[in-house]
Symmetry: C2
Subunit: 263 residues, 2 copies
Amino acid sequence: MSKTPALPASLKQFLVKGNELFLPGISIDCVIFGFHENTLKLLLLDSAKSNKWTLPGGFVLKSEDINDAAYRVLLERTGLNDIYLKQFDVFGQPNRTDASVHKTTFEQYGSKIPKDHCMIQRFVSVGYFALIDYTNFSIQNDPINSVYDWKGIEQVKHLPIEHDHGAIIQKALESLRTQLAYLPIGKNLLPKKFTMPELQKLYETILNKPLDRRNFQRKMLGFGILNKLNEARKGGAHKSPFLYTFNDKKYQKALKEGLYGSW
Amino acid sequence: MSKTPALPASLKQFLVKGNELFLPGISIDCVIFGFHENTLKLLLLDSAKSNKWTLPGGFVLKSEDINDAAYRVLLERTGLNDIYLKQFDVFGQPNRTDASVHKTTFEQYGSKIPKDHCMIQRFVSVGYFALIDYTNFSIQNDPINSVYDWKGIEQVKHLPIEHDHGAIIQKALESLRTQLAYLPIGKNLLPKKFTMPELQKLYETILNKPLDRRNFQRKMLGFGILNKLNEARKGGAHKSPFLYTFNDKKYQKALKEGLYGSW
């Protein structure tokens, strides 16, 4: 005879104190893109109850700034810290989440969630995204959803995704791609010294399409954020083995004002 | 002896049914920029109770999409319709609103607002902005806040502003300016045929700084969204009296993909 497992302490607190602790009506979803050696991946968790994948997410404490909540949620749910999160959109369709999934989470422990609990009410979700080098982080699993995994961007399209998280992922990807047009990218993703083809490969990976070598180089140099070094990559087979590095000051300025900010 | 005025019907409904009708914890604020003949203004309403200016805003109905709520709020509060609203940020500091202002609204009618009413609880606000030609719209005042007015952008800095609406306005202005770097602007703000100096004046007004004529022209033409007409503005004193018009197809494409979208 199988015994009903005991409700974990963290879930019990959420069940009993959820409405008291958290702001009603609003949640957070984090879209964490990972890049390493020309591969773009996405951090998802396997909700064992529904056999669907979800984004790491959570609620906002009653006295907490919403941006602080995003960092706390990410840390608690994945162990990831020191990541720059960018708010990119708000998701507020009335029926965007499936409350039955949340009910099932508690029912497997023989517990019922009250009808007015914030988790099964409607909530509007604020989306945050980040792009990190995933080899720099090791994921910690949480007690509720046991399996975190990096999934290739193309692979994600074929996975079953919970709630409206598929639309959130798509919108985050569009925001990341749009951002390439007006903000610099590459710091913490590329080695300190890199070649133009390596930088181009980063853009091609995010955009998922090949780019013209000459146009790319002309455009990148036009941004004025690169320093060309008096060094070449040894042993490379590339036509442009010159090494570049980001000009820190100009990179930071462009991050604040945009690549074409100086009208 | 002065008599306490009767509570208006719309306010009474909000007082009695507010928690039943609206999603808790979330609100909407609209930053409506108006442009006409080289002047940039902002639509504010004078909250007679506090002698401070506020943004038109409101709450989200329990079964309503948040974007639909933004359009409804704007229509109800200002009579403005057919405006493209762009979500630009979320404002979620714990003490961003001053509940005493909302209490006063009801106290002047001899009514008290319940402590758990959504209006005096903490709420996170989603910011939307728009840029319109303000001569195309006539404002309708609402029963709660009687005075709407267009205020010059520079003038706004010296006005007393309610809650964190000053920060919301500042962020909206930054978003509008950043957007100039990657999205086209000018349709519905300029006449169908315009000169390069007229287009430049629009950018200068939004950026609040003079731009170099040659650089501006080179950059604008580089975007590929303009058609040069075989006509000149008659009687103008400008050096470049040639008339231009937006290439509709390319303008729409750039609105979707960004001005430099085609990497």
